[in-house]
């Protein structure tokens, strides 16, 4: 059998894997957005820019400084987290008490500035990034060909997502983070240094975006615009999944990746609209999102 309802099975499976790859990026980015919103009360429009910085740092590491992809996977998220912490300390911390709108505008501005700098330095044409040695080629599964790198992206990002879930839901540090998200003032009155927790969460959130950027570099083109292309869908993922649920972010991210990919075989015109159709339906039926708690 090589067809389902007249559609080639090879193409369907190929799109399914691509969907899972994109979904992995959505999952990692939306976890960060959601924990940052929970704790800082800021809709972090700069999230896509940090993802883009991650991809560029990996690319620059490889072509300018001779840092291998594998080292980048560890070093780049840390570097992005540090940049994020610097932004939080110098800019964001002054606007926590203001309306959401200010945070949105400020981070949108930060995103434009960062994007502008990279456009100025590198132009808008994408930079090629070779698939690292050891992950080239693929597996022939009989019914389809599975590129190794795509499989690696899915495994690596799921591992990181589950690790993040574990830290937040199961550890002592995680209980501080959850408490500070739920009731920051009281938590601070109990002796927990909430401003440091806030800083760490921002670092963690954008560090995850940086990690996603490194993973994305060999699959997508490394370009200054890659973040803003991604961020709109990621916001939709957060809205559909519901704020504040990590499991929700992971599941919704993967699901939407697939939902977006499959129509590329069936009816390509609708593929990029699918996410927003689902968002509209979910908002009508469950305004708090699929995994969110009603307030």
């Amino acid at each position: 059998m090589t067809e389902i309802f007249g559609f080639p099975i090879q193409a369907l499976m190929g799109q399914l894997v691509l969907g899972l790859v994109n979904g992995s990026f959505y999952a990692m980015l939306s976890i960060g957005l959601s924990v940052i919103f929970g704790m800082l009360n800021i809709i972090n429009f700069a999230h896509g820019a940090f993802y883009m910085i991650g991809a560029f740092l990996a690319w620059m590491g490889l072509y300018y400084w001779g840092i291998s992809y594998w080292w980048s996977l560890i070093l780049v998220p840390l570097a992005v987290a540090l940049i994020g912490i610097a932004v939080e300390r110098t800019l964001l911390q002054w606007i926590y008490k203001l309306d959401h709108l200010y945070g949105l505008l400020l981070t949108f501005g930060i995103a434009l500035v960062i994007e502008g700098m990279f456009r100025h330095w590198f132009g808008v044409a994408g930079q090629p990034f070779d698939v690292p040695e050891g992950l080239t080629g693929g597996f022939n599964l009989g019914f389809m060909f599975l590129p190794k790198y795509r499989a690696w992206v899915i495994v690596a990002s799921l591992t990181v997502c589950v690790g993040t879930w574990f830290i937040i839901e199961k550890t002592r540090l995680g209980s501080y983070l959850r408490a500070a998200t739920e009731n920051p003032k009281l938590t601070q009155a109990f002796g927990i240094n909430v401003p440091i927790m806030v800083m760490l969460i921002y670092g963690l959130g954008v560090g995850l975006a940086g990690f996603a950027g490194v993973l994305a570099a060999p699959v997508l083109q490394v370009s200054p615009l890659m973040g803003s292309n991604m961020i709109i869908v990621v916001f939709a993922v957060v809205v559909i999944g519901g704020m504040g649920s990590i499991v929700g972010s992971i599941a919704t991210g993967l699901m939407l990746g697939i939902v977006e990919a499959i129509p590329k075989v069936l009816y390509p015109e609708i593929s990029s609209t699918m996410v927003f159709i689902i968002m509209a339906i979910v908002l009508l039926l469950r305004p708090a999102g699929l995994f969110g708690k009603e307030r």
């Binding site: 002592r172 959850r178 009281l186 601070q188 009155a189 109990f190």
Partner: protein
């Protein structure tokens, strides 16, 4: 031991001319009071008199403040809340402040230790067996009484020596209120310093060594326990009971 404390009281908390604001509204208008080491002092007053705000102001949870808050000889009014807590202040808020995103046990273990000498988790579970039974339940799934026990228990674990207890008897069944009274007597015997905000005069009266009546954001009068019988009329006027 108790005689010595009676003769040479050591000031643990001294609040002087404390003003506090929520945004533009001026809530405390110069609170002045003292809590000595090992003493249980109660702030009495009607709703809105400023008792809860006094506690929140001590912890730095209100808006702008002025005046001085001496804690164990150190002025803490400029410190951020987490530093104040770390000096040994345990806070049991009026709304109990149990976290719904944490289990009962996570709620209990959340607060960092601020000094040695706190109760161990085993001792706490011996004191509040219900909490042990329900340790895996979501914090806010506990009954009102259990939540109040949890809110008390978690500050006993930290080693804090000054306990700020806000309306702990509110909305609880008489049996539980009685149990809380026993716990506070027990804590006094162990040398804890306690500031008690209470609406329930019958609960506070037998526990407090001294009382301050708070009105319009300042102390209206101070009553020693031994003068209580003769001042009941005055108290009735202030509290409207």
């Amino acid at each position: 031991m108790s005689r010595r404390i009676e003769h040479t009281p050591v000031e643990y908390l001294r609040v002087t001319d404390l003003h506090a604001f929520y945004g533009e509204s001026h809530v405390l208008h110069g609170m002045d009071f003292v809590v000595n080491q090992g003493e249980c002092v109660s702030l009495l007053g009607r709703n809105g008199a400023g008792r809860t705000t006094t506690m929140r102001a001590i912890l730095g949870l209100t808006g702008r403040r002025s005046g001085s808050i001496m804690l164990d000889g150190k002025d803490v009014i400029r410190l951020p809340p987490h530093r104040i807590a770390r000096l040994g202040v345990g806070y049991c808020p009026e709304e109990r402040g149990i976290y719904s995103s944490l289990s009962c046990e996570e709620n209990l273990l959340l607060l960092p230790k601020v000094a040695s000498g706190g109760m161990s988790v085993e001792e706490i579970y011996a004191m509040f067996p219900n909490l042990k039974e329900r340790r895996h339940s979501q914090g806010t799934r506990l009954s009102g009484g259990e939540q109040q026990m949890l809110a008390m228990a978690r500050i006993l674990r930290t080693g804090a020596r000054l306990l700020l207890l806000d309306e702990i008897s509110e909305g609880l069944a008489p049996v539980i209120v009685e149990k809380l009274g026993e716990i506070i007597r027990d804590l006094k015997a162990k040398g804890y310093t306690i500031l008690l905000v209470e609406q329930n005069f019958r609960f506070a009266a037998p526990l407090a060594d001294r009382m301050y009546v708070v009105e319009h954001g300042r102390v209206a009068t101070e009553i020693e326990r031994r003068d209580l019988p003769s001042k009941m009329g005055l108290l009735r006027d202030y509290l409207g009971v």
